[in-house]
């Protein structure tokens, strides 16, 4: 069975599976993309953001 057939049979054959995988993929991509950009942003702005200096000012961490 070729790869495209396998992909077709797993994802596209049944609409319920197709829709479910679209939703799951969108959800997973959203989280992954977000955390990727956030990692870049935090590296680029290291030491400048509030979360980098917050520890100097919090009194009692519960």
């Amino acid at each position: 069975m070729s790869l495209s057939t396998t992909i077709y049979n797993t994802f596209f054959k049944r609409n319920s599976i197709y829709v479910a995988s679209v939703f799951t993929a969108a959800f997973a991509f959203g989280i992954g993309f977000d955390s990727g950009v956030t990692t870049f942003w935090d590296t680029w702005n290291k030491g400048k953001q509030w979360k980098d200096i917050r520890h100097k000012y919090v009194q009692d961490e519960e």
Partner: protein, 335 residues
């Protein structure tokens, strides 16, 4: 009349088609022949046709217009034309230097330690004259101060509230939701306290001035004695960056005026940089989130753009690459 037109047009078209077909084979050769003949003519002929060509006229016009536009852009005036000004250039104020702010770049967030120091400068210096209407204590939380710090600072200020059950207004300590207290009860009091000049609210000042942060930094650090020949009114202060040169605000920042709790030396320029960063945040509190969202948007939209180009080419490929063949009806007129 109308019914005859199509048949005549058709006849014309069919004969034209035959003609095109006949000449199509030789068309490329004939073009090259024409080109060769024109380039092999005498040089004066070539010069004449060059001078008379529309392309020459168009490019010369374009070049002239472009040069004038470039000059006007570079020097602000048209070349060879004198100008008379009713005002002096100093009326517009000196252009501020473009400073390398730590939040300048596409990917750069605000420097929040600087915002915190800048708030201290605002509170200890500028707040004596300038209000900051649009910033509430809660806005500082998670930006430059912890919730506890902001709450303590708010409680130091008394706010009018009420009416209570007896219909009386009363004073109460501030809450996080309260806005920054103004130094004067109203604009008239502010003017009266500052020799007639109203200290503007600083919430949006960075957006409200040409040059933005660069201008305000230059203004705060740019006070000098008026140059020879420049007279300013009593009580005014000379600053070349201020349009007109004289303003009511005196120089307010001097080395060592505040004491930073993170140990940064409080030089004039350091304090100016910090307070301007703070005011820049006050004017654009959404700044960090906006840039971060911008990165995401640019990545996503450029990916979608590339995909759309691919889809377009994919769909149009067969249509653009197809060959249309025309088989003319058999010629029955005989040879």
């Amino acid at each position: 009349m109308l019914s005859r037109l199509p048949s005549g047009a058709l006849k014309q078209a069919s004969s034209a088609a035959r003609l095109t077909r006949a000449s199509a084979v030789s068309s490329s050769r004939s073009a090259s022949v024409r080109f060769a003949s024109s380039s092999s003519s005498t040089s004066s002929n070539a010069f004449e046709s060059f001078m008379n060509s529309r392309l020459t006229l168009a490019s010369a016009t374009l070049f002239t217009a472009g040069t004038v536009a470039w000059y006007a852009h570079l020097y602000g005036t048209l070349p060879f034309l004198g100008e008379a000004h009713a005002s002096h250039h100093s009326d517009e104020g000196l252009h501020p230097v473009a400073y390398p702010w730590s939040h300048n770049g596409f990917f750069d967030s605000f420097d929040h330690a600087s915002i915190r120091r800048g708030y201290q400068v605002y509170r200890e210096v500028c707040a004596a004259c300038h209000s900051l209407d649009r910033i509430a204590w809660r806005n500082l939380v998670g930006v430059s101060h912890t919730a506890d710090e902001a709450r303590v600072m708010a409680e130091e200020v008394e706010y009018p509230d009420g009416p209570n059950d007896d219909g009386e207004m009363f004073q109460r300590p501030g809450k996080l939701a309260d806005y920054m207290p103004a130094p004067y009860p109203n604009d008239e009091a502010a003017r009266a306290g500052n020799a007639g000049a109203l200290p503007p609210d600083l919430s949006l000042i960075v957006k409200a001035r040409h040059g933005g942060a660069d201008y305000i930094f230059s203004l705060l650090t740019g006070y000098i004695d008026p140059p020879a020949g420049v007279e300013i009114r009593e009580g005014m202060n000379y600053n070349p960056f201020f349009p007109g040169g004289a303003l009511s605000m005196a120089r307010v920042l001097f080395d060592g005026l505040v004491e930073y709790d993170d140990g940064t030396p409080a030089t004039t320029s350091q304090m100016a940089k910090d307070v301007v960063t703070f005011l820049n945040w006050a004017a654009e509190p959404e700044h960090d989130e906006r840039k971060k969202t911008g990165i995401k948007a640019v990545i996503l939209f450029s990916t979608l753009f590339v995909l759309s180009i691919y889809a377009k080419r994919f769909k149009w490929g067969p249509i653009k690459n197809r060959k249309i063949q025309y088989n003319p009806p058999a010629d029955k007129s005989g040879h």
